[in-house]
């Protein structure tokens, strides 16, 4: 079965070709079958491969399938090849699984859209590219997937391209992502050349990581920081997060799939994949962790003052991605990936729930015009409620286990620090607050719905509610694969990922790596000592979450007038946060305008003057020379004959002189 790994990306690719090229001829009905079933088959294949992999012993869980040679140039050799190991198969399962349910949901959600066929073609292409990203066995193919998902993201954000705001948001996402991709590319080049200095010309993961100990720390730090810039772009971290809130212009299932559950987690996956390199560069890890935790708290605070339900979820996504980076940044790669997985479930569900609310309210997004929807759309409410509990970190749901794992590692890991934990814990409380604020504003209190809209509020059709229910179930049980030891669990996901992220045997020689390996090994022994501490931390984080929920309850149910009073009391602060700290405006002035000015300067100064001047100057010069030279063309045959004879005479003279004098 492992040999058939190429089937996993092949199914979505086939779906894309069928829908994209023949969709119009096949008709809407066929497209609604092809789109989801292509992903369903890929999901099914991934499950089979997963169980096949489980049969092997943990140390043998690595399989590479080379499809064909791709780039062969001198001693450099890259293949199109897929790699199956615990990390990649887990990602493949999350990607295909979540996208399968979102595809089904989309059949209902997008049903009346004129771009229905185009939509499914793009969505299939996205899944294909995402699978290339996570299954690739070398950096180059991973980069193809990386760029491919960026393209699909651009196409789907600007899906309703007639709207100016949508096409602008698409462009913004693309341009900001290019900044990150530039870092990724440079990191890849640097890795390639610095390994090449040791005679190893390769971008293959296995070879790169087993030879990484040949690199010195400074080089590895530079490589990992450059790669992390790529991750910042793709996974919307400070300072490149600005595109993600705008990306909400796309259809809601797209926001759910691409801009919450899968694509934006690519950066986390990439850092976890390169854990060998990051472990060798403590400085890079510290940067990753600090950027992660800063993003988590910064964007959580923006989430306080957003009134658009999708914008709240967007900032929440950025904030949660910050958590994942905090996790991988302190060396807890499996915790980061664990949170990636549970986040895919509950954040995917939250977006689909928001889509269902929009469906009920004829496209209304403003939470100030919602309220009291609990009774009218019960399935949406309950699933949304479960996801909110999960993201807030209420014990027993998936978000609790994964978030707590990260918080604990941020505190206890050898790369961790008390301050990292403190900020992350405060951000967790803020998460609980703004998520419950969204929940209360949408489903509780008094109805503020527009009377025109109010009389036809309806629950979504079953094709939309069933994916909601399935994802809600996953949001609850998804966490039980990673119950920590201290709660009597086995932490299966940690064990499962250990062969990939637990530090490679070949690297034991490297000082920094062996330090981590020791910390890793001693983690098991010292767990008894720190169990009490871990439990205490857990209780504290739950209390913080409960405080956040309580505040939300106080503000939005008990005393709905309070938020307005607070906003007036601290008017300056409120305006600052409500305007997203003016980050977009600052970027506009700093980058957009200055680049525009540079462009205009180059256009007028360099292009018009230097380039055009050179080209036109040469043309004028040639014209002038021709003007002089054409006098030769007298039109008199005898002149021509004369010049011919003069030429002949000169030749004769030359020979005579030669004979006479030499």
């Amino acid at each position: 079965m492992l040999d058939y790994v190429w089937l996993v990306p092949l199914f979505p690719a086939t779906g894309f070709i069928l829908n994209g090229l023949f969709g119009r001829r096949l008709g809407k009905k066929a497209v609604s079958w092809i789109g989801p079933s292509a992903i369903g088959l890929a999901f099914f294949t991934s499950i089979l491969i997963f169980f096949e992999l489980l049969k092997r012993t943990p140390s043998e869980r690595l399989f590479e399938k080379i499809i064909f040679d791709w780039v062969v140039s001198g001693s450099f050799h890259t293949v199109i090849g897929y790699q199956i190991d615990p990390l990649s198969i887990l990602m493949a399962l999350v990607v295909t699984g979540v996208s399968f349910f979102i595809h089904i949901y989309s059949v209902g959600y997008m049903h009346d859209d004129p771009g229905y066929i185009r939509y499914f073609a793009y969505l299939n292409l996205f899944v294909f590219m995402m699978l290339n990203l996570v299954l690739a066995n070398n950096f180059l193919l991973m980069f193809v997937g990386w760029e491919g998902v960026g393209l699909c993201s651009y196409l789907l954000i600007g899906f309703w391209f007639e709207k100016d705001s949508a096409s602008n948001a698409g462009k913004k996402a693309f341009v900001v992502n290019r900044v990150g991709d530039f870092g990724f590319l440079l990191g890849m080049f640097l890795l390639f050349t610095s390994l090449g200095k040791h005679g190893i010309w390769t971008l293959d993961f296995t070879e790169v990581f087993s030879n990484a100990n040949k690199l010195d720390t400074a080089t590895v730090t530079a490589i990992t920081i450059l790669l992390f810039i790529g991750a910042c772009g793709k996974s919307a971290q400070i300072p490149l997060y600005v595109w993600l809130p705008d990306a909400m212009e796309g259809p809601t299932p797209v926001s759910s799939l691409i801009h919450a559950a899968t694509m934006v987690t690519a950066g986390v996956y990439m850092v976890a994949r390169c854990n060998v390199l990051y472990s060798m560069a403590p400085l890079s890890m510290a940067i990753v962790a600090m950027i992660g935790v800063a993003t988590a708290i910064f964007t959580a605070s923006i989430g306080f003052c957003q009134n658009d339900i999708k914008k709240v979820l967007a900032y929440s996504t950025i904030s949660q991605l910050g958590y994942m980076f905090l996790g991988v940044g302190v060396g807890a790669y499996s915790a980061g990936i664990f949170h990636l997985m549970t986040h895919a479930f509950f954040k995917g569900l939250l977006f689909l729930g928001a889509g269902s609310v929009m469906h009920a309210l004829s496209g209304e997004l403003d939470m100030r015009k919602m309220g009291a929807l609990r009774k009218k759309i019960p399935i949406t409410f309950w699933t949304f409620f479960i996801a909110t509990l999960a993201i807030a970190g209420i014990p027993g749901l998936s978000g609790f286990f994964s978030k707590d794992e990260i918080l604990w590692q941020a505190f206890s890991s050898s790369h961790g620090h008390f301050l990292l934990w403190l900020v992350a814990a405060v951000a967790a409380g803020m998460t609980a607050f703004y998520m419950f604020r969204a929940l209360f504003l949408t489903f509780f209190g008094e109805s503020r719905v527009d009377p025109h809209v109010a009389h036809h509020i309806h629950e979504s059709p079953r094709i939309m509610t069933i994916p909601l229910i399935i994802l809600a179930v996953l949001s609850v049980i998804g966490g039980y694969v990673g119950v920590p030891h201290v709660l009597g669990g086995a932490n299966h996901i940690h064990e499962f990922l250990a062969p990939v992220v637990g530090g490679s045997e070949a690297l034991k020689g490297h000082a920094a790596v062996s330090l981590i390996a020791q910390a890793w090994a001693s983690g098991g022994e010292s767990s008894a000592h720190s169990a009490a501490l871990e439990l205490l931390m857990m209780v504290i984080s739950v209390i913080i979450a409960l405080i956040g929920i309580g505040m939300a309850y106080l503000f939005y149910i008990k005393n709905p007038a309070l938020p307005k009073l607070m906003a007036e009391r601290w008017k300056g602060l409120y305006t600052l946060v409500a305007n997203k700290y003016y980050v977009d405006e600052i970027y506009q002035v700093l980058f957009v305008n200055s680049i525009k000015k540079l462009g205009v300067g180059l256009w007028k100064g360099f292009d018009d003057f230097v380039i055009d001047g050179t080209v036109n100057g040469i043309a004028i010069l040639i014209g002038w020379i021709s003007g002089v030279m054409r006098r030769v063309q007298t039109g008199l045959v005898q002149n021509y004959a004369f010049s011919m004879i003069v030429g002949g005479l000169i030749l004769i003279l030359y020979y005579i002189v030669r004979v006479l004098f030499y």
Partner: protein
């Protein structure tokens, strides 16, 4: 008494004189037909030197080339005269100075 054979240099000098006359005529005269005759004169002076060398070197190639030159000259004469006829019909002159449409 026997007349001694004419030395080859005499023929070559004659050929050179004829060629020079041809060149000067072709460059200075304005009547197209005269120019044309001068060109024929140059060709024939070359023929004369061909024959001389052929005889002097005891080789047949020179004679062969002379025949080629005669054949080409004949062909050239027919084409050239046809051009002059057409020229006269359109411009009513065969003065080469007035036929200068192809100048700058």
């Amino acid at each position: 008494m026997t007349i001694p054979p004419v030395p080859p240099a005499f023929y070559l000098v004659l050929s050179g004189i004829l060629f020079t006359i041809g060149v000067i005529g072709a460059l200075t005269r304005r009547n197209a037909i005269v120019v044309f005759m001068c060109i024929e004169l140059m060709l024939n002076s070359v023929n004369l030197s061909f024959i001389t060398f052929s005889r002097f070197l005891q080789s047949i190639e020179g004679v062969l080339f002379a025949f080629f030159v005669i054949a080409v000259a004949a062909a050239e004469a027919s084409v050239g005269l046809a051009i002059f006829v057409m020229l006269y019909r359109s411009r009513e002159t065969i003065n080469v100075d007035e036929v200068n449409l192809l100048k700058w």
